[in-house]
Subunit: 317 residues, 3 copies
């Protein structure tokens, strides 16, 4: 069966078959290796960037991708928009669509808002994060990064650490890895931020091995994995007030990766993090060969170039 990416909406990582993910990853690799060949491939095409939530990395990465492919970027500033005058999101989207963009990239705080938008727009849309739901291009760049690190995605031994209750990044990556063979995931989190039962049940039905641990077990696991995937623990996940503040401080103190923990890791072991990181990785680690997170962020550029290109041009595989 043939797949065609042309005009396809990129909403959830679950919508992609392993074959499709591999295609995107391989195409991103080709772009990474030969940026010169892609300098004008989006010439005369325009991307509308609709961010209803603050973002640095994702918005910047999409914009740089588009510019480096020779395309145009139209940034919509939700702070100065008619939404403030009471216009509905639907009306704003219909207006934007009327300007004939070739692609729309959108982030919004509400789960499901990108799916909603996709029904209104003629232009294809890429989900740049909808609440706690999905952020598929993050997951694609994570898979791309894993392949850069280990040479393959099958058989990845990974520990995913941090806020596993609310972290859409962690959930999506686990789902994506379940499409590959013989991966093994260690979920490591404080008791209060464990993977939700609903999600554990879903994973059990998939072809993937996993286990759950508390933060103190990381030291026993770290020497046997390929990748340590750290995520940020956000203050706002804890109750307001003194008690919540203390719980947050306690966990923050435990949840800080120290350089000495890396003494016996495998030589090709690498640390990933979707960034921004605050206190969860000791600064000293940045200089070690194990720190992959800045390269990971840079990989976002290639994945986004690949997607922008595939869905606005004829991406038949």
């Amino acid at each position: 069966m043939e797949t065609n990416f042309l005009k396809r909406d990129i909403i959830s990582i679950e919508d992609f078959s392993r074959k499709e993910l591999d295609y995107i990853i391989n195409y991103a690799k080709e772009i990474k290796n030969n940026p010169e060949n892609f300098k004008e491939i989006m010439k005369h095409k325009t991307m509308i960037s609709l961010f209803f939530e603050n973002s640095t990395r994702t918005a910047t990465s999409f914009k740089m991708a588009m510019l480096q492919l020779g395309g145009n970027v139209m940034e919509f500033n939700s702070q100065t928009s008619s939404l403030k005058k009471g216009e509905t999101l639907k009306d704003t989207l219909k207006m934007m669509d009327g300007y004939s963009p070739d692609v729309v990239v959108m982030r919004h705080p509400n789960d499901g808002s990108i799916k909603f938008a996709s029904h209104i727009l003629n232009a294809p849309i890429i989900n740049a994060g909808d609440g706690q739901n999905q952020h598929p291009t993050q997951t694609m760049l994570d898979l791309f990064s894993i392949k850069e690190i280990t040479g393959k995605i099958n058989e990845t031994k990974i520990a995913i650490v941090g806020d596993l209750k609310y972290g859409r990044t962690a959930h999506s990556l686990a789902i994506a890895l379940s499409k590959y063979e013989n991966c093994k995931i260690h979920f490591i989190s404080p008791e209060s931020l464990k993977v939700p039962k609903k999600f554990i049940d879903a994973l059990k039905e998939k072809n993937i091995e996993f286990s759950e641990h508390n933060l103190s077990e990381l030291k026993n696991i770290i020497n046997n994995i390929d990748i340590l995937y750290m995520t940020r623990i956000q203050r706002e996940r804890f109750p307001i007030g003194k008690e919540g503040e203390e719980e947050y401080k306690k966990i923050s103190k435990i949840y800080s990766l120290k350089k000495e923990l890396l003494e016996n890791v495998k030589s090709d072991f690498r640390i990933m993090h979707p960034l921004p990181k605050i206190f969860e990785i000791e600064e000293e680690i940045d200089k070690t060969p194990f720190a992959y997170y800045f390269k990971q962020a840079a990989n976002g550029l290639h994945i986004r170039k690949a997607l922008l290109n595939l869905i606005t041009q004829n991406g038949r595989i």
Copy 2:
């Protein structure tokens, strides 16, 4: 007599003869029909976008127009500007002009500010709205839309509804229609937001038929018109405090177009609205063939492309 648009400032709809308006509308139509032919026509040209007031539609539309013509856009953010350090508008304009823009697009809350700016700038300027005064590109896209709907502008039967006291859109459209033949305008508004006497007197001198009505008369008029032009009624037009709030709520309740009112309209009847709309058009109407407002907004793109092109290149007619 020959007209030349090159380097012409676009300040007020009143500055344009019917012949000139027709030329702009026809040129916008050519661009709408053949966007491929205009992809590089503004190559190497730069537009400075100076918005001293919030705007979504107009700012976005001008920017998209410029990008789709292959030009550059330099957006000035009045929030981070030296105006905050006490610099005069005149000095800011002289500085911007020193950077040799090919065209400046400006919105400002003060009536007459764009005229003022035009005396300072060497670059041609387009008025993107100066207070309650003028917004000529809105009127041009309205005329363009009327022609799209009815095939001509002469003989248009239109009802203009809403805030006719402060609404620059309503005033400008009426003036523009008075340049054509056999048009008929029904002004429909709450008593407190009627067309100002000064303006009524001006219209009486022009070659145009018009009448005034209150909101309840719309149902008698709607079946005999080609176009219903709705405008927004803004809370800030009513007095602060409880009494003003009540008056606003009362009018808002009456002033909401219901789908059942459209039962016996002409088959080619269409609803226009400069957008954003809030409560004044029932959402159900969006799906009917009578809703033209999103297409109207999209037409802004073609009108703005035409103007940008005409005033920066040799637009002789």
Copy 3:
């Protein structure tokens, strides 16, 4: 000895030899005279604009320069960035660098921050102002402007007036002039805003003649100089409270250049000002041939084009 500008960071005016400054100035002049020849010279290149402080003139000027050379601009908005989530400046820079910009332009409130950034970035960086420290492209455009006015930089007779205690512009210009021959500087300021002793000592070691004066002496000096370089006196330099307010008002009143003071100046005398100006130059003066400040601001465009070009392409001299 050969110099190569390729990939060179532009951090401090002190890093540049007179030969290098002359080369940049001459190259900027060539660009000013033949803008048509440089319309595509930055094609496919991307500048990241990182402004951690408000700026109109400098940010706009760099962006216009890049666009008019056919390049792309990626603006980073520090207001919506991950810095707000607690990310370090270092991490933000490493992320930006991962997107492979061809050049970074940065302003930051902290002295030395651009030097710091230069150690983190692979891309060359241009200092667009770091606190009270340096703003080298301002000084280069000042030198360029002096040469435009007098035909040379050697032998310039200049009065630098205003806040000479905190004004980085004044300090840098004096340092730069000391690289040339037979210049003469009159420093004119209120007693409380005199040139710091440290800086006076440094100038004494250089090959430049200078003298210090209070504001009332300007009338005796103005007829014998080529250039009057005015700077802004900022309210925030004076103590908070009534006493500071009075001192500021008193100085503001004295420190306002009146047209009558220009009655007997040399015919090729010109007034410069880094802008924005508030009250320090009477508006009437704008219309006289002596007002050079708006042309000076416009010259920033050519200097920045020259630098962007030299450090991203092979600028061998």
